[in-house]
């Protein structure tokens, strides 16, 4: 299941909704990304705006999630990604993966986060005391996503 939304999310409720009542689920891994004041390269950020391309985001997130579900035989999975203006401490993204066994849940969760970081069509505009700036893509992130290709 994927959702791209402006609103915040409730981690406990999302995990419960995904895993509750399914007796095959033995392991639920989750990841929450949070806006950091020192996320940038220079001056501390006071806010960040995530812009996206809705039609492409939905398509790509659905494809990523389907790939993870098949590869790790997940019982259920969820990606919630926020867009719009976020301040330090605000949640950005939630990934939840449920499986029978812990290794599948943990690996699929790490895979999805690496993928979201590099492949999802989001762009970050940071606000700082020195003015706003668009964040440039980083080569290290592409490498983190690529290692999943090597491992397959």
């Amino acid at each position: 299941m994927i959702r791209v939304q402006r609103e915040d999310f409730d981690i406990g409720a999302e995990i419960e909704a995904l895993s509750g009542g399914n007796n095959e689920v033995g392991a639920v891994a989750s990841f929450v990304g949070i806006t950091r004041a020192d996320a940038g390269e220079g001056a501390p950020i006071t806010a960040m705006t995530l812009e996206h391309y809705p039609a492409m985001t939905e398509k790509q997130l659905a494809a990523i999630e389907a790939e993870a579900c098949e590869r790790w035989n997940l019982t259920a999975s969820l990606i919630v990604h926020r867009h719009g203006r976020l301040e330090p401490g605000d949640r950005i993204v939630l990934v939840v993966t449920a499986a029978s066994h812990r290794r599948a849940a943990l690996d699929a969760c790490a895979f999805l986060i690496d993928w979201l970081k590099t492949k999802a069509p989001f762009w970050k505009r940071e606000e700082t005391a020195e003015g706003p700036r668009w964040v440039a893509a980083r080569a290290a992130d592409d490498q983190a996503a690529e290692r999943w290709r090597d491992a397959s």
Binding site: G33, R36, Q60, P121, W123, D141
Partner: protein
């Protein structure tokens, strides 16, 4: 054809979407970028370094030799920076 612009490409071009009638000799992504650049102004400045421009045709990433046609939705944007924290 619908053109969509995102992030600083949108800011430099000065709009987020426009409908254009494609010249008949513009049949690839590369030719489209050249043609847009020839319009000057924000187009020329946004597209002066194509190494930082990514193109999607109908919501899929497309290479320079990818075909483009009148019914397509074409998006121009910088490399994505994602949402997950580093």
């Amino acid at each position: 054809m619908t053109l969509l612009y995102f992030a600083w490409v949108r800011e430099q071009i000065g709009c987020d979407a426009e409908e254009i009638a494609l010249p008949s000799d513009v049949r690839t992504v590369a030719a489209l970028l050249d043609w847009l650049r020839s319009r000057g102004g924000g187009y020329a400045s946004a597209l002066k370094d194509l190494s930082v421009i990514r193109v999607a045709v109908n919501q899929e990433f497309a290479a320079p030799d990818h075909a483009v046609g009148d019914g397509d939705e074409i998006a121009l944007f910088p490399p994505v920076t994602g949402g997950a924290p580093s």
